[in-house]
Amino acid sequence: MVFVPKYILILFAIILIDYLAALTIEQLKGRLRLFYLVVSLIANIGMLAFFKYFNFANENLVTVFSWFGKEFHPVNLDIILPIGLSFHTFQSMSYTIEVYRGRQKAERHLGYFANYVLFFPQMVAGPIERYETLGNELREEHKPKYENFSDGFKLILFGLFIKMAVADNIAPFVNQVYSDPMKYNSLQVLGAVFLFSFQIYADFFGYSTIALGSARMLDIKIMDNFNTPYLSKSITEFWTRWHISLSTWFRDYLYIPLGGNRVTLPRWSINILIVFMVSGLWHGASWTFVVWGALHGLMILTERYTSKILKFKIREGWNVVNVLLTIKTFIVASFIWIFFRAEDFPKAKLIIKAMVKNWKIEKTDVPYLYAFVFSIVLIVIDIFLYNSRFDKRIGVTKIPVRWAVYAVLIFCLMALSGTQKFTFIYFQF
């Protein structure tokens, strides 16, 4: 993942192909519409496949050939994944699909369409916006408003705090333990597994909030990508609160076309597994991501089947059972994250082994203080923001309280942020 200036041509190619495809689809009738949609999808997915999955496919072919005692000598490409490719291809694809479905008029102005794909706050790591919302917002006239600057500033400040003070203070602990798990005591490995849950959340949530704030300053509203996901009572609910723009994308363009929940239970189960495995693969060209997705799918199936067998339904509101369910969901999600964070299966296995077997080894020094303090801060913030957003929640508090919060956030951001260089985790996708 890197920014290479010539890769901008890829973006221009995607823009041009989808712009022309949508215009053509709108003008045509019958099966030719489908032909142009397929052309557009192949171009988008092909681009993604070439840059992201080519070498991965080769590696797998080598393995498959070896099963049959044959040798396969692939030509691996020395290419770097363009930054944010998975995000803007998905965004662009959603537009042509919507035009094909007749729910969206094709954009006649290339500039507006290009602006939709290239809209800088969310171009690199989402949220993956739909043309219906962002495209139309970009078409409207926008004037500077104080409220936008104010809300935008609040969101950017909060996002920076979440990324730089929370995520970047947790990262050293996690990275250290994950780099050589057998060196660490089981408790520390367990700590790293749970802390990674907070790190990835803070890292991505921070980015999304900064994107939201930057867009807001321009009077553009983009969607919330997170809604306190670790306060979910089940994995099913977790996926309505985590990376919402991607979950809804897969829901609309894969899950529903596969039949959604209007199919038999076994077929629905397969659909769920397909959607989550593809979602895993979207994250990265590695089987660990596929397993990560599959485990989430399996958890959703488990939840559905157990609730059916036990006739158990999660009630609204907060009570002891729901708190326990929330803790359970967090623990499950954290263990599944192991496959997301580990570079490969041997590393994931090592983490699990160290977690189970290293109880007796001495604790090695790790930078734990800020990591734990800011994780607790993140939990408190999530409780405070439950089903809301920072700018909305803070906007209704009294001025002295509000400014005191700003002061604390600024202080933590400026004086306590992590000092090592950690790029946004989702930039690699």
């Binding site: 730089m164 600024i410 400026m414 004086a415 000092t419």
Partner: protein
Amino acid sequence: MFKKIIIRIFALVIIIAGLNLIYNFTFYKKDLEEKCEQVVELRKKQPDTDIFYFAESSNFNVREDDSIKQSISEITNFFYPSLKITAINKPATHGGIYRHWLTHIDLTENKPKAVIITLNLRSFDANWIHSKLETPLQESVVLLKPYPKLLNRFLLSLNAFDNKTEQQRERDMIKEWETTQLEFPFPFKYKTVTEWDYHMAQGTYTKPDGSWDAEKITLACHYVKTYAFNIKENNPRVKDFDFMADWCHKNNVNLYFNLLAENLQYADSLVGKELVFLMKQNRDFLVNRYNKNNCKVIDNLEAVPGKEYTDQNWTTEHYSYKGRMAIAKNLANGLRTQFNNYYKAAY
């Protein structure tokens, strides 16, 4: 709208100013200890110090078989037993770092009588300027920059310093070797370091069996890449040493630049007199530039014979005891202009 925004910006500035004070009293010292322990040490030791000695590894590096392990600053101190010379060391440090240490000397209380700063010829070359060690070194001085402390801390979090990757630095280094023209007052066939290095690499040295002596060739090439340059006014290190000389002049602090010895013997035998010419020319540039006002250059360039260098197969300023002693003696003699009354012949 603009009035509202300006009022809020003003409020923010006041808040940040207040937070800066809080940071100064709370986390600053801890951050400084973590990122730049040398300045913490400097402040701690200043009340008992007469002379500060800023150095890189040349000061404390010893040869394994040395029976006496004292550093250059400690040996120098033997000549001035009634004075306290305090060394502040950090490996790979150079003028760009020393300048920040220097400005953190407290001038109001216990002002030191003098400051000695090592002047390392190699630190002016592309090899060192674009070294991969530069990133951590630059990181170590962010908190010392002349801005509000809280802002410095924020800059550190943002990695807002000379924070190039190793690959970028290597590219810069190679570019400099390829493009910078070497200047000689006499005709010389190689125009750049790259050309010279390329020539040296073409089997300049062979073994008795006729095969290339790779070890010797590598060392000769390294000597070219290390010492083949002309120091000019736009060299970043010159700017750093200019700054230090001006600062000391302005604040009435006596300054000594301790120009370290380089292995001229090996440079001559491995590469030739042209390289030695450049080394001496660069020495003359520094001596002429800084021997003025309350600044003095102690010239040790030729003080240490080739066999007294610890690293015989590389270019370093790591000396055996005899080498360190030679430099310390020179330095002690140089200090006599100011501290003659304190001087005692130790050896």
